[in-house]
């Protein structure tokens, strides 16, 4: 037992109804009427703070003023509603008007929005102001009555249920009981199957393959015109999609995997021999889908030959096989092997040999 306090040492036994001061030491409860020791089961009720009257309660003039304020707010709301109704028909939707602080804005937009907003707002403001100033604000306590039903009601309920059970003969007829259980239980299955079954088709190999096939021409996005190798001059960047992707079954899903960025570097700058082999005369093609979370990596800085992803700033060095030099990506961008066909157009020589984009469980 620790001893605190300066004036009173030792423990104190609390009496029900008296409050203890903090420095009076450890509390030992007086216990309940049976003599069990513990914290007292009732603390003294400090009561409510003294009631502060509002000016509208005491002064008739203030009450009138509050009434006028509420009426004004409702009146503003009415004016605003009428403004809305007039403006809806009167203002041409193509009118642009200079409004100080905002600039050139569509007048119809502004007037309709402001008037409707003010009309609704002032209804609310008026109601709240009325409640705050004029409606009663005395504190009210509502006793909570015990929720337990009477013993008689409980007994009757149990008896009714038991009688119903006996009357249904369920106890005497086990076959009904089992078949009922089976029918109801089995009926849950169509619901579950529909929920689970409508989650969509299984991805199978979708994450590991793209639309690219050997021999597909590289097409400019969005024009979908083929690219000649001679068009790609030093320092150029082309945004590329495979030929025929706009006719595919799931265009957006395919485009989200097959987007490619075509970059032209001086061959001498490329440090990885495989990158040079898979390109054509310094023109290299890489997947545009970031290996971090999948944003398109389109920001090519041609002096430093760094490729930047705008979402989380993963930076890839195109001269070094798109190795990650900064940022949260962990894997370099996959390269697409390209070559030229007989007419001089750039074509893919092989599909992507590794999955593109972010990691997934099986990768």
């Amino acid at each position: 037992m620790s001893e605190h306090g300066t004036e009173s040492a030792g423990e104190h036994v609390s009496q029900p109804g008296t409050a203890l001061r903090l420095e009076q030491g450890q509390v030992e409860g007086a216990g309940n009427s049976e003599g069990q020791v513990g914290i007292p089961d009732r603390f003294s009720n400090p009561g409510l703070p003294p009631h502060v009257s509002r000016s509208a309660d005491l002064d008739e003039v203030a009450a009138h003023r509050a009434e006028r304020q509420v009426a004004t707010l409702f009146g503003i709301s009415m004016v605003a509603t009428l403004t809305f109704l007039v403006a809806y028909f009167a203002i041409d939707q193509r009118t642009y008007q200079f409004i100080p602080g905002i600039g050139q804005a569509s007048l119809s937009n502004i007037v309709l929005g402001v008037s409707l907003g003010v009309s609704l707002l002032c209804i609310g403001l008026g109601a709240v102001h009325w409640a705050k100033t004029l409606m009663p604000d005395t504190e009210v306590t509502e006793d909570r009555h015990p929720q337990r039903s009477s013993d008689e009601a409980r007994h009757e309920t149990v008896e009714t249920l038991e009688a119903g059970g006996r009357a249904s003969q369920l106890g005497r007829r086990p076959m009904i009981k089992y078949m009922l259980g089976g029918a109801l239980g089995l009926f849950a299955l169509p619901l579950v199957v529909q929920l689970a079954g409508s989650l969509g088709p299984l991805p199978k190999a979708d994450l590991a393959t793209t639309f690219w096939r050997r021999g597909m021409r590289l097409m400019r996005d969005p024009e979908m015109t083929p690219i000649k190798a001679s068009d790609v001059t030093l320092g150029s960047v082309f945004h590329v999609l495979p030929e025929g992707i706009d006719k595919s079954h799931d265009v957006l899903e395919e485009k989200a995997k097959a987007a490619v960025i075509l970059v032209s570097l001086p061959p001498a700058v490329i440090r990885v021999p495989r990158e040079r082999d898979w390109g054509h005369d310094g023109i290299v093609a890489y997947s545009k889908i970031c290996t971090h979370v999948g944003c398109p990596v389109g920001l090519y800085e041609h002096r430093t030959h760094h490729l930047l992803c705008p979402c989380h700033q993963s930076t890839f060095d195109v001269a070094n096989d798109c190795e990650v030099i900064f940022g949260p990506a962990h894997r370099p961008l996959p390269q697409l092997k390209i070559t030229v066909d007989a007419k001089g157009y750039l074509v893919a020589d092989a599909p992507f040999l590794q999955p593109v984009g972010p990691s997934y469980w099986e990768r």
Binding site: R54, S55, I102, K132, T233, L234, G298, E301, H302, Q313
Partner: protein, 261 residues
């Protein structure tokens, strides 16, 4: 003493004196400040005139015959378009080798004729992109198609409305507001600093005109809502909502809960 003298110890006296001093200094500077080097144009030939301007203003960094050096890159093969763009937007002559990139200058230092002369001279150093035909820089093309092309090729660096964006290590793609059609075309065709090259086989002259049309339409700034907040998307709009919107809501909540007078 006179009326002015009797106010000499007024607290505003020091402010007025400072203002007078600033005005005097500024006026003297504008009268006596040195002007940029203007080569005396003796020859009538554009290329020769351009050569002399080049020697006076560009050779220190770019070399006597434009071969480049430690400070400035080689200008062989950049073409007249590059000169017209860089000098015409004030980027060149640069005050010095600026890292991370040379900013757009505060003013253009040369007249249009001088820029044309310098461009003609640099074009002779090596074959490169020429100043574009004015037919394709008018901005009278298809705005919707220009938007589509801009979205795919330009928006990742320059923002969906050309408001500019950040690149790595302090480099940036500048804001495209109020850029002339000719400079937009030239920037695409020459690939200035970090910007890649969009030659006429990648984006045809008509495509470039469409992109110019889109950018010029944005300059008219017909936003139905008025303030575009810089077209920066969730950044500026979020700031507005968090500061103004949330502030108003907190104020409303405080008012709702407070007792009336």
């Amino acid at each position: 003493m006179n009326a002015l003298g009797s106010h000499r110890r007024h607290p505003a006296a020091i402010v007025i004196l400072l203002l007078l001093g600033l005005v005097a200094t500024g006026g003297l500077y504008s009268l006596l400040a040195p002007r940029p080097a203007q080569a005396a144009v003796a020859a009538a030939d554009d290329v020769t005139a351009g050569h002399q301007l080049f020697l006076a203003n560009c050779a220190t960094c770019h070399g006597i015959s434009g071969q480049g050096g430690k400070i400035g890159p080689s200008l062989v093969g950049v073409g007249a378009a590059a000169v017209d763009f860089q000098v015409g937007t004030g980027r060149m002559p640069a005050a010095g080798p600026a890292l991370p990139q040379v900013p757009r200058g505060k003013q253009v230092m040369f007249t249009n004729q001088e820029i044309a002369n310098m461009a003609a001279y640099v074009a002779t150093l090596g074959a490169g992109p020429a100043i574009p035909d004015s037919r394709y820089t008018q901005g009278d093309g298809n705005i919707a198609r220009g938007n589509e092309l801009f979205k795919v090729n330009c928006a990742m660096c320059h923002n969906f409305a050309g408001s500019g964006g950040a690149l790595t290590r302090g480099k940036y793609a500048p804001n495209l507001r109020n850029a002339t059609g000719k400079h937009i075309y030239e920037a695409m065709v020459t690939g200035s600093q970090s910007m890649p090259v969009f030659n006429d086989q990648n984006l045809s002259p008509t495509d470039k005109n469409d992109i110019i049309s889109y950018l010029h339409d944005l300059d008219k700034n017909k936003n139905p809502g008025g303030l575009s907040l810089g077209n920066l998307g969730p950044v500026s709009e979020g700031m507005f909502v968090w500061i103004v919107g949330l502030g108003l809501m907190i104020g409303a909540a405080v008012w709702l809960g407070s007792k009336a007078a």
